[in-house]
Point group: C2
Chain length 377, copies 2
Amino acid sequence: MDDTIERLRLIRTEGVGPLTYRRLIARFGTVQNALEALPDLARAGGRASPPAPPDRRAIEAEIKALKKLGGKFLFVDSPGYPEFLAELPDAPPALAVLGDVSLLSARSVGIVGARNASANGMRMAEQLATELAAEDLAVVSGLARGIDAAAHKGALKTGRTVAVIAGGLDIPYPPENEKLQAQIAATGAVIAEAPLGTAPISRHFPKRNRNIAGLVLGLVVIEAAPRSGSLLTARLANEAGRELFAVPGSPLDPRCRGSNDLIRQGANLTESAADVLANLPDHPSRQGLARDPLFLHQRSGLAEKSNNFFVPVADAEIAEGRRSIPPLIGADPVMVDEIARRCQLSTAAVSAVLLELELAGKVETLPGNRVARTASP
Amino acid sequence: MDDTIERLRLIRTEGVGPLTYRRLIARFGTVQNALEALPDLARAGGRASPPAPPDRRAIEAEIKALKKLGGKFLFVDSPGYPEFLAELPDAPPALAVLGDVSLLSARSVGIVGARNASANGMRMAEQLATELAAEDLAVVSGLARGIDAAAHKGALKTGRTVAVIAGGLDIPYPPENEKLQAQIAATGAVIAEAPLGTAPISRHFPKRNRNIAGLVLGLVVIEAAPRSGSLLTARLANEAGRELFAVPGSPLDPRCRGSNDLIRQGANLTESAADVLANLPDHPSRQGLARDPLFLHQRSGLAEKSNNFFVPVADAEIAEGRRSIPPLIGADPVMVDEIARRCQLSTAAVSAVLLELELAGKVETLPGNRVARTASP
């Protein structure tokens, strides 16, 4: 219990995102050590008043509230966390789950698409989900209006489904899907990255999409307009080595442009569950995964070795990094590998200095192992 | 003129199909020699009463009637015949043409699809054709109801179009497209393989489809059900090395299954004219063409060298072939190459003996340079 409280305090500290959390654990070995190091790290990065972790009572209240809802927490560096999601370098450090936690480690396929879907699109989503759930696949979606809701409903008919939501578990969104969320929690699972009480706003949805992409072996896209959230989910799934499927549609319907584009780019043209079943792999493709050296270092036996991440770094190296690294980072994103090559320091030293700069709010970490100077330091 | 009459007499003789015509010219050098050799060939193949060519007056009447319609003949071994169509081993020896003959050698793209097309499918066909014709491409189609008619109409708005019909030029089919056929002939071209007066029946349509496939650099398929004529056209186009394009559609509409399948098999997913223009080659791909050794022998400078096809074959070789080849041909199709290897005779000798057997009605030539014993000898 104490460990859970300390973990959540670290995770809920301002400036500690998923990557920073992993880096802190990698550098300091334990959550307690990381919490203690936070003020000095932020100051070393140049921040006068370091961010304070929330106090223990606030976290105790969150844990109690989740328990009351019937939910529990899963941590990225502890057993039970969904295996494929953990492969993402920026997997959420903590997930709040309602329902059957074991379902998150089942073979699963995502179905996502337009909120303003056509009747045919929703029929297609429902039909596919019904058939895939009947084959014992967990159907994962985002509980949005349109395609997502149709997929969840279809899966409930014959099997199990996982809803990944953007806000807190106690804030059903959209409101009309409250009953659906309860039905899903009763036989499947509902998961949230945001703390309880969080009303979902726009910045939460990309994280929801990343979590869908990370959970599944394959993702089916139905009616996705260009620049839609569903296409973002598809891009994240592809980067994570998950198989892409797309249902074709008339070029005269703008809602089909994005999904047709995916087919043009190599997604499996999908007309039925058979098309998915024939092409769904047993594991994510390694090729698709981002190559974060630190992340790769950690990945083998993540859950078992959570306290063995410590990478020793000489103080002299860090001092040298604090001097030479900041000038290398501008407004345009730069690869961490490139920084390491230019400053001739070890990956661990570069990582340690970047951690300080992140916690000080001076740089931000971007997808694909890149960093940039923050817009307003 | 005399040459035209003799050519048409040979072409219109029972048992002389496109491949046999080419083989006869290859063996005997001139149409006149081939006509004279016909009776002996058929008898050598084992037929008691050889097929007689039509008499000169019947052919003269056909030529006169076509001239009266404003049309003319093109022959596969004479100048003016469409270059890419001539590359097909079974290109029709004679084509009757109304309108602008030069259009048949222009860069062109076919658009074909369902007769019972949806309103959206026809809108798509019309729109694509309008845009492609505006880019100076001739739009080729089959003058059928639905997608074909929509494509012709779309092309007429901005450019030129070619109608390939199944019956004779004087039998507009379907009747409601009579006016459309006249409009096409006025600014574009209408072509027919069947003699004047031929009412189209089912066996004419595969030939019409092969002629569309042969004329074009690329073929766009819109709303083709499984096992439809449009899919046959696509197969023939692919075998002839032409680029395939297909417009995607909802899996819930059976009319889209065939076209979606084409995309799954590698056809270019097509949403607009830009998709066609970006992928339309300047020449058919050589890889797609059937490998008929005799055909390849002829192809270089086909039109110029029409009288130089003569391949001498020793009588002893033919005598040996007449003895050894018939037992090698059963009801299952066999490659001509395989026959040549087994009987150890030259390709020219094998070809000569097959010619006799074909004219005698004992064997039939099949696509892909294969032959089989005819069902009822």
